[in-house]
Protein backbone atom coordinates (compact mmCIF):
# COMPACT_ATOMS: atom_id res chain seq x y z
CA UNK A 1 0.00 0.00 0.00
CA UNK A 2 1.30 3.39 -0.87
CA UNK A 3 2.58 5.75 1.75
CA UNK A 4 -0.01 8.50 1.53
CA UNK A 5 1.76 10.77 3.99
CA UNK A 6 5.02 10.57 2.13
CA UNK A 7 3.23 11.24 -1.15
CA UNK A 8 1.47 14.29 0.27
CA UNK A 9 4.66 15.46 1.89
CA UNK A 10 6.50 15.41 -1.44
CA UNK A 11 3.72 17.38 -3.09
CA UNK A 12 3.88 19.93 -0.31
CA UNK A 13 7.55 20.47 -1.13
CA UNK A 14 7.45 20.21 -4.92
CA UNK A 15 4.28 22.19 -5.68
CA UNK A 16 6.00 25.34 -4.41
CA UNK A 17 8.73 24.96 -7.00
CA UNK A 18 6.29 24.11 -9.78
CA UNK A 19 4.04 27.11 -9.28
CA UNK A 20 6.89 29.54 -8.74
CA UNK A 21 8.67 28.12 -11.80
CA UNK A 22 5.49 28.61 -13.79
CA UNK A 23 5.17 32.23 -12.63
CA UNK A 24 8.79 32.96 -13.62
CA UNK A 25 8.20 31.27 -16.98
CA UNK A 26 5.59 33.93 -17.77
CA UNK A 27 8.32 36.57 -17.68
CA UNK A 28 10.46 35.08 -20.41
CA UNK A 29 11.36 37.74 -22.98
CA UNK A 30 9.82 40.54 -20.91
CA UNK A 31 12.50 41.30 -18.32
CA UNK A 32 13.91 44.77 -17.63
CA UNK A 33 17.27 43.72 -19.11
CA UNK A 34 18.62 40.76 -21.01
CA UNK A 35 20.68 39.73 -17.97
CA UNK A 36 17.73 39.64 -15.57
CA UNK A 37 15.68 37.87 -18.22
CA UNK A 38 18.29 35.13 -18.41
CA UNK A 39 18.61 34.93 -14.64
CA UNK A 40 14.87 34.60 -14.01
CA UNK A 41 14.51 32.00 -16.75
CA UNK A 42 17.44 30.19 -15.23
CA UNK A 43 15.81 30.14 -11.81
CA UNK A 44 12.57 28.90 -13.36
CA UNK A 45 14.51 26.14 -15.08
CA UNK A 46 16.19 25.09 -11.81
CA UNK A 47 12.89 24.98 -9.97
CA UNK A 48 11.18 22.93 -12.66
CA UNK A 49 14.14 20.56 -12.75
CA UNK A 50 13.69 20.02 -9.02
CA UNK A 51 9.99 19.43 -9.54
CA UNK A 52 10.67 16.63 -11.99
CA UNK A 53 12.84 14.84 -9.45
CA UNK A 54 10.22 15.11 -6.72
CA UNK A 55 7.26 14.16 -8.95
CA UNK A 56 9.03 11.18 -10.46
CA UNK A 57 9.52 9.92 -6.95
CA UNK A 58 5.91 10.72 -6.03
CA UNK A 59 4.70 8.87 -9.14
CA UNK A 60 6.63 5.79 -8.09
CA UNK A 61 4.94 5.89 -4.70
CA UNK A 62 1.55 6.35 -6.33
CA UNK A 63 2.14 3.44 -8.71
CA UNK A 64 -0.16 2.46 -11.57
CA UNK A 65 -0.08 4.83 -14.52
CA UNK A 66 1.04 7.83 -12.51
CA UNK A 67 3.86 9.94 -13.97
CA UNK A 68 5.46 13.28 -13.28
CA UNK A 69 3.04 14.71 -15.84
CA UNK A 70 -0.15 13.26 -14.42
CA UNK A 71 0.87 14.73 -11.08
CA UNK A 72 1.58 18.16 -12.58
CA UNK A 73 -1.21 18.38 -15.11
CA UNK A 74 -4.16 16.31 -13.98
CA UNK A 75 -4.60 17.40 -10.36
CA UNK A 76 -7.23 20.03 -9.59
CA UNK A 77 -6.87 23.30 -7.77
CA UNK A 78 -7.92 21.90 -4.39
CA UNK A 79 -5.25 19.19 -4.64
CA UNK A 80 -2.32 21.57 -4.97
CA UNK A 81 -0.36 22.02 -1.78
CA UNK A 82 1.87 25.00 -2.58
CA UNK A 83 1.95 27.99 -0.25
CA UNK A 84 0.02 31.10 -1.27
CA UNK A 85 3.21 33.13 -1.65
CA UNK A 86 4.41 31.40 -4.80
CA UNK A 87 1.14 31.80 -6.70
CA UNK A 88 1.13 35.60 -6.35
CA UNK A 89 1.25 37.44 -9.69
CA UNK A 90 4.27 39.10 -11.34
CA UNK A 91 2.82 42.55 -10.70
CA UNK A 92 6.12 44.30 -11.46
CA UNK A 93 9.82 43.54 -11.07
CA UNK A 94 9.68 44.55 -7.39
CA UNK A 95 6.98 41.95 -6.70
CA UNK A 96 8.91 39.32 -8.62
CA UNK A 97 12.02 40.02 -6.57
CA UNK A 98 10.23 40.32 -3.23
CA UNK A 99 8.37 37.04 -3.82
CA UNK A 100 11.59 35.36 -4.89
CA UNK A 101 13.55 36.63 -1.92
CA UNK A 102 10.85 35.63 0.59
CA UNK A 103 10.82 32.16 -0.92
CA UNK A 104 14.56 31.69 -1.46
CA UNK A 105 15.53 32.44 2.13
CA UNK A 106 13.01 29.82 3.27
CA UNK A 107 14.00 27.38 0.53
CA UNK A 108 17.68 27.38 1.50
CA UNK A 109 16.88 26.82 5.20
CA UNK A 110 14.45 24.06 4.28
CA UNK A 111 16.72 22.20 1.86
CA UNK A 112 19.59 22.49 4.27
CA UNK A 113 17.50 20.36 6.66
CA UNK A 114 15.92 18.08 4.07
CA UNK A 115 19.32 16.93 2.87
CA UNK A 116 19.61 15.08 6.18
CA UNK A 117 16.31 13.27 5.63
CA UNK A 118 16.25 9.54 6.33
CA UNK A 119 14.60 9.16 2.94
CA UNK A 120 17.56 8.82 0.60
CA UNK A 121 15.76 10.02 -2.52
CA UNK A 122 14.56 13.19 -0.83
CA UNK A 123 17.97 13.73 0.66
CA UNK A 124 19.61 13.42 -2.75
CA UNK A 125 17.17 15.81 -4.43
CA UNK A 126 17.66 18.27 -1.57
CA UNK A 127 21.43 18.20 -1.91
CA UNK A 128 21.26 18.99 -5.59
CA UNK A 129 18.57 21.62 -5.12
CA UNK A 130 20.36 23.36 -2.28
CA UNK A 131 23.18 24.45 -4.58
CA UNK A 132 20.65 26.01 -6.90
CA UNK A 133 18.64 27.63 -4.13
CA UNK A 134 21.79 29.29 -2.79
CA UNK A 135 22.32 30.87 -6.19
CA UNK A 136 18.68 32.01 -6.29
CA UNK A 137 19.02 33.55 -2.86
CA UNK A 138 22.11 35.46 -3.83
CA UNK A 139 20.37 36.85 -6.91
CA UNK A 140 17.20 37.90 -5.09
CA UNK A 141 19.05 39.31 -2.06
CA UNK A 142 21.28 41.40 -4.31
CA UNK A 143 18.27 42.79 -6.11
CA UNK A 144 16.48 43.53 -2.83
CA UNK A 145 19.47 45.72 -1.96
CA UNK A 146 19.66 47.35 -5.38
CA UNK A 147 15.99 48.21 -5.40
CA UNK A 148 15.77 49.19 -1.72
CA UNK A 149 18.89 51.33 -1.77
CA UNK A 150 18.58 52.46 -5.41
CA UNK A 151 16.33 55.38 -6.36
CA UNK A 152 13.31 56.80 -4.53
CA UNK A 153 11.04 55.10 -7.00
CA UNK A 154 12.65 51.69 -6.69
CA UNK A 155 12.65 52.06 -2.91
CA UNK A 156 8.95 52.74 -2.74
CA UNK A 157 8.12 49.98 -5.20
CA UNK A 158 10.04 47.29 -3.35
CA UNK A 159 8.70 48.54 -0.02
CA UNK A 160 5.14 48.22 -1.37
CA UNK A 161 5.78 44.77 -2.74
CA UNK A 162 7.27 43.66 0.57
CA UNK A 163 4.32 45.10 2.51
CA UNK A 164 1.86 43.25 0.26
CA UNK A 165 3.64 39.90 0.24
CA UNK A 166 4.64 39.77 3.90
CA UNK A 167 1.22 38.36 4.88
CA UNK A 168 2.10 35.15 3.07
CA UNK A 169 5.34 34.42 4.94
CA UNK A 170 3.96 32.87 8.09
CA UNK A 171 2.33 30.02 6.15
CA UNK A 172 5.78 28.68 5.33
CA UNK A 173 6.12 27.52 8.94
CA UNK A 174 2.78 25.76 9.38
CA UNK A 175 2.83 22.03 9.87
CA UNK A 176 0.41 19.90 7.90
CA UNK A 177 -0.68 16.41 8.93
CA UNK A 178 1.78 14.93 6.44
CA UNK A 179 4.53 17.16 7.86
CA UNK A 180 3.90 15.85 11.36
CA UNK A 181 3.88 12.23 10.26
CA UNK A 182 7.05 12.59 8.23
CA UNK A 183 8.72 14.44 11.06
CA UNK A 184 8.03 11.47 13.34
CA UNK A 185 9.63 9.16 10.85
CA UNK A 186 12.75 11.27 10.49
CA UNK A 187 11.92 12.00 6.88
CA UNK A 188 10.43 15.48 7.02
CA UNK A 189 11.70 18.83 8.24
CA UNK A 190 10.32 20.61 11.27
CA UNK A 191 9.60 23.91 9.55
CA UNK A 192 8.55 25.56 12.82
CA UNK A 193 12.22 25.40 13.81
CA UNK A 194 13.24 27.46 10.78
CA UNK A 195 11.08 30.46 11.59
CA UNK A 196 13.42 32.43 13.86
CA UNK A 197 16.35 32.05 11.48
CA UNK A 198 14.16 33.01 8.57
CA UNK A 199 12.95 36.29 10.01
CA UNK A 200 16.45 37.13 11.25
CA UNK A 201 17.87 36.69 7.78
CA UNK A 202 15.11 38.76 6.26
CA UNK A 203 15.78 41.50 8.80
CA UNK A 204 19.47 41.60 7.97
CA UNK A 205 18.98 41.96 4.24
CA UNK A 206 16.07 44.37 4.50
CA UNK A 207 17.97 46.56 6.94
CA UNK A 208 20.88 46.77 4.59
CA UNK A 209 18.44 47.55 1.77
CA UNK A 210 16.88 50.35 3.89
CA UNK A 211 13.52 48.61 3.62
CA UNK A 212 11.26 48.77 6.67
CA UNK A 213 10.07 45.49 8.10
CA UNK A 214 6.33 45.47 7.45
CA UNK A 215 4.19 45.60 10.56
CA UNK A 216 1.80 42.80 9.88
CA UNK A 217 -0.36 41.32 12.60
CA UNK A 218 -2.55 39.08 10.44
CA UNK A 219 -1.28 36.46 8.07
CA UNK A 220 -2.85 34.46 5.25
CA UNK A 221 -2.77 30.70 4.93
CA UNK A 222 -4.56 27.84 3.24
CA UNK A 223 -2.39 26.83 0.31
CA UNK A 224 -0.97 23.82 2.09
CA UNK A 225 -4.53 22.52 2.52
CA UNK A 226 -5.45 23.29 -1.08
CA UNK A 227 -7.36 26.47 -0.22
CA UNK A 228 -5.73 28.90 -2.62
CA UNK A 229 -6.11 32.49 -3.78
CA UNK A 230 -8.18 33.19 -6.88
CA UNK A 231 -4.97 33.33 -8.94
CA UNK A 232 -4.49 29.59 -8.75
CA UNK A 233 -7.32 28.57 -11.06
CA UNK A 234 -5.93 30.70 -13.87
CA UNK A 235 -2.41 29.39 -13.43
CA UNK A 236 -3.68 25.83 -13.76
CA UNK A 237 -6.06 26.59 -16.64
CA UNK A 238 -3.07 27.80 -18.63
CA UNK A 239 -0.56 25.24 -17.43
CA UNK A 240 -2.82 22.21 -17.85
CA UNK A 241 -4.55 23.21 -21.09
CA UNK A 242 -2.69 20.80 -23.37
CA UNK A 243 -3.06 17.74 -21.14
CA UNK A 244 -6.75 18.51 -20.63
CA UNK A 245 -7.45 19.08 -24.34
CA UNK A 246 -5.36 16.11 -25.50
CA UNK A 247 -5.45 13.58 -22.68
CA UNK A 248 -3.27 10.46 -22.54
CA UNK A 249 -0.87 11.38 -25.32
CA UNK A 250 2.88 11.42 -25.52
CA UNK A 251 4.74 14.62 -26.29
Amino acid sequence: MMNKNLYNYILGVADNSLILGQRLGELCGHGPSLETDIALTNISLDLLGQVRGYYQYAAKILGGNASEDTIAFIRKERDYKNVLLVEQPNTDFAYVIARQFLFDVYHVLFLDQLQHSRDLTLSAIAKKSLKEALYHKRFSSDWIKRLGDGTDESHSRIQNAMNDLWVFTNELFQLTEADKEMLNEGIGVDVTQLKADYYNQLNDVLNEATIEIPEVKFFQKGGKEGVHTEHMGYILAEMQYMQRAYPNMEW
Binding site: Q22, G25, E26, C28, G29, H30, G31, P32, S33, L34, E35, T36, D37, I38, T41, N42, S44, L45, L48, G49, V51, R52, Y55, E68, D69, A72, F73, D92, F93, K145, R146, L147, D149, G150, T151, E153, S154, R157, E238, M239, Y241, M242, Q243, Y246, M249, E250, W251
Partner: protein, 318 residues
Amino acid sequence: MSENQIKNLEAEFEAKISRDEKIEPKDWMPEKYRQTHIRQISQHAHSEIVGMLPEGNWITRAPSLRRKVALLAKVQDEAGHGLYLYSACETLGISRDELYEQLHTGKAKYSSIFNYPTLTWADMGAIGWLVDGAAIINQVPLCNTSYGPYARAMVRVCKEESFHQRQGFEIMMKLAQGTPEQKEMAQDALNRWWWPSLMMLGPTDDASVHTEQSMKWKLKRKTNDELRQQFIDQTVPQADLIGLTIPDFDLKWNEERGHYDFGPINWDEFWQVVKGHGPCNKERLAARKGAWERGEWVRDAAMAYAEKQADRKEKQVV
Protein backbone atom coordinates in the same frame (compact mmCIF):
# COMPACT_ATOMS: atom_id res chain seq x y z
CA MET B 1 45.37 60.88 -43.32
CA SER B 2 46.41 61.35 -46.91
CA GLU B 3 44.61 59.62 -49.72
CA ASN B 4 47.68 57.53 -50.30
CA GLN B 5 47.81 56.33 -46.72
CA ILE B 6 44.15 55.31 -46.89
CA LYS B 7 44.79 53.44 -50.13
CA ASN B 8 47.61 51.55 -48.42
CA LEU B 9 45.43 50.67 -45.49
CA GLU B 10 42.70 49.50 -47.81
CA ALA B 11 45.12 47.33 -49.75
CA GLU B 12 46.48 45.83 -46.57
CA PHE B 13 42.92 45.18 -45.35
CA GLU B 14 41.89 43.47 -48.61
CA ALA B 15 45.03 41.36 -48.54
CA LYS B 16 44.30 40.24 -45.00
CA ILE B 17 40.82 39.13 -45.97
CA SER B 18 42.03 37.28 -49.02
CA ARG B 19 44.58 35.45 -46.85
CA ASP B 20 41.64 34.44 -44.58
CA GLU B 21 43.10 36.37 -41.66
CA LYS B 22 40.65 37.74 -39.13
CA ILE B 23 39.95 41.43 -38.76
CA GLU B 24 40.04 42.38 -35.08
CA PRO B 25 38.41 45.34 -33.29
CA LYS B 26 41.57 47.47 -33.13
CA ASP B 27 42.51 46.87 -36.77
CA TRP B 28 41.85 49.51 -39.37
CA MET B 29 38.75 48.76 -41.43
CA PRO B 30 36.83 50.66 -44.10
CA GLU B 31 33.88 52.56 -42.70
CA LYS B 32 31.53 50.60 -44.93
CA TYR B 33 32.84 47.33 -43.52
CA ARG B 34 32.22 48.60 -40.02
CA GLN B 35 28.70 49.78 -40.85
CA THR B 36 27.77 46.59 -42.70
CA HIS B 37 28.91 44.52 -39.75
CA ILE B 38 27.05 46.67 -37.25
CA ARG B 39 23.96 46.22 -39.37
CA GLN B 40 24.29 42.49 -39.78
CA ILE B 41 25.47 41.57 -36.28
CA SER B 42 22.87 43.76 -34.61
CA GLN B 43 20.09 42.37 -36.81
CA HIS B 44 21.27 38.97 -35.80
CA ALA B 45 21.28 39.90 -32.10
CA HIS B 46 17.84 41.48 -32.37
CA SER B 47 16.54 38.34 -34.06
CA GLU B 48 17.67 36.23 -31.12
CA ILE B 49 15.92 38.54 -28.68
CA VAL B 50 12.69 39.00 -30.62
CA GLY B 51 12.84 35.27 -31.35
CA MET B 52 12.40 34.58 -27.65
CA LEU B 53 8.82 35.86 -27.87
CA PRO B 54 7.10 33.37 -30.22
CA GLU B 55 8.59 30.46 -28.28
CA GLY B 56 8.27 32.11 -24.88
CA ASN B 57 4.58 32.22 -25.74
CA TRP B 58 4.35 28.47 -25.08
CA ILE B 59 6.45 28.07 -21.93
CA THR B 60 3.51 28.24 -19.56
CA ARG B 61 1.47 25.86 -21.75
CA ALA B 62 4.06 23.22 -22.71
CA PRO B 63 2.35 19.81 -22.59
CA SER B 64 4.85 17.97 -20.38
CA LEU B 65 7.41 18.94 -17.76
CA ARG B 66 10.21 17.56 -19.88
CA ARG B 67 9.19 19.74 -22.84
CA LYS B 68 8.67 22.76 -20.62
CA VAL B 69 12.17 22.47 -19.20
CA ALA B 70 13.71 21.97 -22.65
CA LEU B 71 11.85 24.98 -24.04
CA LEU B 72 12.96 27.16 -21.14
CA ALA B 73 16.54 26.09 -21.68
CA LYS B 74 16.28 26.86 -25.37
CA VAL B 75 14.87 30.33 -24.89
CA GLN B 76 17.57 30.98 -22.33
CA ASP B 77 20.18 29.94 -24.90
CA GLU B 78 18.69 32.48 -27.30
CA ALA B 79 19.01 35.24 -24.75
CA GLY B 80 22.63 34.15 -24.34
CA HIS B 81 23.17 34.31 -28.10
CA GLY B 82 21.76 37.81 -28.03
CA LEU B 83 24.31 38.72 -25.38
CA TYR B 84 27.30 37.33 -27.32
CA LEU B 85 26.16 39.09 -30.46
CA TYR B 86 25.54 42.44 -28.79
CA SER B 87 29.02 42.18 -27.27
CA ALA B 88 30.52 41.34 -30.67
CA CYS B 89 28.69 44.31 -32.14
CA GLU B 90 29.91 46.64 -29.39
CA THR B 91 33.49 45.94 -30.44
CA LEU B 92 32.66 47.98 -33.55
CA GLY B 93 32.14 51.11 -31.47
CA ILE B 94 28.42 51.20 -30.84
CA SER B 95 26.67 50.74 -27.48
CA ARG B 96 24.00 48.23 -26.63
CA ASP B 97 21.65 51.08 -25.71
CA GLU B 98 22.06 52.59 -29.17
CA LEU B 99 21.38 49.20 -30.72
CA TYR B 100 18.21 48.83 -28.68
CA GLU B 101 17.19 52.31 -29.73
CA GLN B 102 17.53 51.25 -33.37
CA LEU B 103 15.41 48.16 -32.75
CA HIS B 104 12.72 50.06 -30.87
CA THR B 105 12.41 52.81 -33.46
CA GLY B 106 12.25 50.28 -36.28
CA LYS B 107 15.52 51.51 -37.80
CA ALA B 108 17.10 48.10 -37.32
CA LYS B 109 15.41 44.96 -38.55
CA TYR B 110 15.19 41.45 -37.16
CA SER B 111 14.42 38.19 -38.91
CA SER B 112 11.02 38.32 -40.62
CA ILE B 113 10.15 34.83 -39.38
CA PHE B 114 9.48 36.01 -35.84
CA ASN B 115 6.52 38.05 -37.06
CA TYR B 116 4.53 34.86 -37.46
CA PRO B 117 2.36 33.67 -34.56
CA THR B 118 2.83 30.42 -32.62
CA LEU B 119 -0.68 29.00 -32.60
CA THR B 120 -0.22 25.43 -31.40
CA TRP B 121 2.32 23.36 -29.51
CA ALA B 122 3.45 21.86 -32.83
CA ASP B 123 4.81 25.29 -33.75
CA MET B 124 7.55 24.70 -31.17
CA GLY B 125 8.58 21.68 -33.20
CA ALA B 126 8.30 23.48 -36.54
CA ILE B 127 10.37 26.42 -35.31
CA GLY B 128 13.12 24.18 -34.01
CA TRP B 129 13.20 22.00 -37.08
CA LEU B 130 12.64 24.54 -39.86
CA VAL B 131 13.50 27.97 -38.49
CA ASP B 132 16.59 26.86 -36.60
CA GLY B 133 17.42 24.62 -39.54
CA ALA B 134 17.37 27.55 -41.95
CA ALA B 135 19.27 29.66 -39.44
CA ILE B 136 22.04 27.05 -39.24
CA ILE B 137 22.39 26.99 -43.02
CA ASN B 138 22.81 30.75 -42.88
CA GLN B 139 25.10 30.76 -39.88
CA VAL B 140 27.54 27.90 -40.27
CA PRO B 141 29.52 29.78 -42.94
CA LEU B 142 29.69 32.74 -40.55
CA CYS B 143 31.94 30.73 -38.24
CA ASN B 144 34.61 31.55 -40.84
CA THR B 145 33.62 35.12 -41.54
CA SER B 146 36.33 37.76 -41.71
CA TYR B 147 35.41 39.71 -38.57
CA GLY B 148 36.98 37.84 -35.63
CA PRO B 149 34.51 38.66 -32.82
CA TYR B 150 31.54 37.73 -35.02
CA ALA B 151 33.14 34.49 -36.19
CA ARG B 152 33.95 33.46 -32.62
CA ALA B 153 30.43 34.26 -31.38
CA MET B 154 29.03 32.16 -34.21
CA VAL B 155 31.03 29.09 -33.24
CA ARG B 156 29.25 29.02 -29.90
CA VAL B 157 25.88 29.96 -31.39
CA CYS B 158 26.00 27.23 -34.04
CA LYS B 159 26.72 24.46 -31.54
CA GLU B 160 23.62 25.31 -29.56
CA GLU B 161 21.49 25.90 -32.66
CA SER B 162 22.08 22.44 -34.02
CA PHE B 163 21.06 21.02 -30.67
CA HIS B 164 17.85 23.09 -30.82
CA GLN B 165 17.16 21.88 -34.32
CA ARG B 166 17.40 18.24 -33.31
CA GLN B 167 15.13 18.95 -30.38
CA GLY B 168 12.58 20.59 -32.71
CA PHE B 169 12.69 17.70 -35.12
CA GLU B 170 12.15 15.32 -32.24
CA ILE B 171 9.02 17.25 -31.20
CA MET B 172 7.69 17.00 -34.77
CA MET B 173 8.55 13.32 -35.01
CA LYS B 174 6.77 12.54 -31.74
CA LEU B 175 3.66 14.36 -32.99
CA ALA B 176 3.79 12.79 -36.45
CA GLN B 177 3.96 9.34 -34.83
CA GLY B 178 1.29 10.19 -32.28
CA THR B 179 -2.51 10.18 -32.48
CA PRO B 180 -4.30 11.44 -35.63
CA GLU B 181 -4.97 14.70 -33.79
CA GLN B 182 -1.28 15.15 -33.03
CA LYS B 183 -0.27 14.32 -36.57
CA GLU B 184 -2.74 16.85 -37.90
CA MET B 185 -1.31 19.45 -35.54
CA ALA B 186 2.19 18.72 -36.86
CA GLN B 187 1.12 18.90 -40.50
CA ASP B 188 -0.70 22.18 -39.90
CA ALA B 189 2.42 23.66 -38.31
CA LEU B 190 4.56 22.52 -41.24
CA ASN B 191 2.05 24.08 -43.64
CA ARG B 192 2.23 27.42 -41.88
CA TRP B 193 6.02 27.55 -41.28
CA TRP B 194 7.37 26.08 -44.51
CA TRP B 195 7.18 29.11 -46.78
CA PRO B 196 8.19 31.67 -44.17
CA SER B 197 11.24 29.47 -43.43
CA LEU B 198 12.24 29.55 -47.10
CA MET B 199 11.88 33.33 -47.03
CA MET B 200 14.26 33.50 -44.06
CA LEU B 201 17.13 32.82 -46.42
CA GLY B 202 16.54 36.22 -47.97
CA PRO B 203 15.36 37.60 -51.29
CA THR B 204 16.40 35.95 -54.55
CA ASP B 205 19.92 36.71 -55.75
CA ASP B 206 18.81 39.28 -58.31
CA ALA B 207 16.90 41.21 -55.63
CA SER B 208 19.54 40.99 -52.89
CA VAL B 209 21.36 44.29 -52.56
CA HIS B 210 24.07 43.27 -50.11
CA THR B 211 25.16 39.92 -51.55
CA GLU B 212 28.05 41.01 -53.73
CA GLN B 213 29.80 43.08 -51.07
CA SER B 214 29.12 40.47 -48.37
CA MET B 215 30.67 37.73 -50.51
CA LYS B 216 33.78 39.85 -50.91
CA TRP B 217 34.13 40.23 -47.16
CA LYS B 218 33.36 36.56 -46.56
CA LEU B 219 30.28 37.54 -44.59
CA LYS B 220 28.62 35.29 -47.10
CA ARG B 221 30.05 32.25 -48.85
CA LYS B 222 26.99 31.22 -50.81
CA THR B 223 24.14 33.22 -52.30
CA ASN B 224 20.62 33.26 -50.86
CA ASP B 225 19.34 31.01 -53.63
CA GLU B 226 22.12 28.48 -53.12
CA LEU B 227 21.44 28.38 -49.38
CA ARG B 228 17.71 28.01 -49.97
CA GLN B 229 18.30 25.08 -52.31
CA GLN B 230 20.55 23.47 -49.72
CA PHE B 231 17.86 23.91 -47.06
CA ILE B 232 15.17 22.36 -49.23
CA ASP B 233 17.35 19.44 -50.30
CA GLN B 234 18.17 18.68 -46.70
CA THR B 235 14.67 19.13 -45.26
CA VAL B 236 12.45 17.27 -47.75
CA PRO B 237 13.85 13.81 -46.87
CA GLN B 238 13.39 14.62 -43.18
CA ALA B 239 9.70 15.38 -43.78
CA ASP B 240 9.39 12.12 -45.75
CA LEU B 241 11.00 10.22 -42.92
CA ILE B 242 8.33 11.25 -40.42
CA GLY B 243 5.46 11.06 -42.88
CA LEU B 244 4.65 14.74 -43.24
CA THR B 245 3.94 16.49 -46.54
CA ILE B 246 5.71 19.64 -47.66
CA PRO B 247 2.97 22.09 -48.71
CA ASP B 248 4.31 22.64 -52.24
CA PHE B 249 2.61 20.96 -55.24
CA ASP B 250 5.55 21.79 -57.49
CA LEU B 251 8.11 20.11 -55.26
CA LYS B 252 9.83 17.36 -57.24
CA TRP B 253 13.25 15.72 -57.36
CA ASN B 254 15.15 16.84 -60.44
CA GLU B 255 17.53 14.05 -61.41
CA GLU B 256 19.41 16.21 -63.86
CA ARG B 257 20.13 19.05 -61.41
CA GLY B 258 20.54 16.71 -58.44
CA HIS B 259 18.27 19.03 -56.49
CA TYR B 260 14.61 19.46 -55.66
CA ASP B 261 12.63 21.80 -57.89
CA PHE B 262 10.18 23.87 -55.89
CA GLY B 263 7.26 26.23 -56.43
CA PRO B 264 7.25 30.02 -56.48
CA ILE B 265 7.72 31.92 -53.23
CA ASN B 266 5.24 34.66 -52.42
CA TRP B 267 7.65 37.59 -52.32
CA ASP B 268 4.82 40.07 -51.85
CA GLU B 269 4.16 38.47 -48.50
CA PHE B 270 7.88 38.59 -47.67
CA TRP B 271 8.13 42.31 -48.36
CA GLN B 272 4.90 43.00 -46.51
CA VAL B 273 6.34 41.34 -43.39
CA VAL B 274 9.78 42.94 -43.77
CA LYS B 275 8.16 46.36 -44.07
CA GLY B 276 6.39 45.88 -40.76
CA HIS B 277 2.98 44.60 -41.78
CA GLY B 278 3.18 40.90 -40.94
CA PRO B 279 0.81 39.15 -38.55
CA CYS B 280 2.79 39.94 -35.38
CA ASN B 281 5.16 42.82 -36.22
CA LYS B 282 3.28 45.25 -33.99
CA GLU B 283 2.97 42.83 -31.07
CA ARG B 284 6.63 41.82 -31.17
CA LEU B 285 7.94 45.35 -31.21
CA ALA B 286 5.43 46.46 -28.59
CA ALA B 287 6.53 43.59 -26.33
CA ARG B 288 10.21 44.55 -26.65
CA LYS B 289 9.57 48.27 -26.21
CA GLY B 290 7.20 47.61 -23.36
CA ALA B 291 9.73 45.45 -21.52
CA TRP B 292 12.39 48.13 -22.00
CA GLU B 293 10.18 50.99 -20.85
CA ARG B 294 8.72 49.11 -17.89
CA GLY B 295 12.25 48.14 -16.91
CA GLU B 296 13.66 51.65 -16.88
CA TRP B 297 13.19 52.20 -13.15
CA VAL B 298 14.91 48.88 -12.48
CA ARG B 299 17.95 49.80 -14.54
CA ASP B 300 18.03 53.24 -12.90
CA ALA B 301 17.93 51.62 -9.49
CA ALA B 302 20.84 49.34 -10.35
CA MET B 303 22.88 52.33 -11.55
CA ALA B 304 22.07 54.44 -8.50
CA TYR B 305 22.94 51.56 -6.19
CA ALA B 306 26.24 50.92 -7.96
CA GLU B 307 27.17 54.60 -7.65
CA LYS B 308 26.32 54.64 -3.94
CA GLN B 309 28.40 51.53 -3.38
CA ALA B 310 31.34 53.03 -5.24
CA ASP B 311 31.06 56.23 -3.16
CA ARG B 312 31.00 54.26 0.06
CA LYS B 313 34.06 52.30 -0.95
CA GLU B 314 35.90 55.48 -1.80
CA LYS B 315 35.08 57.00 1.58
CA GLN B 316 36.27 53.88 3.35
CA VAL B 317 39.60 54.08 1.57
CA VAL B 318 40.01 57.74 2.54
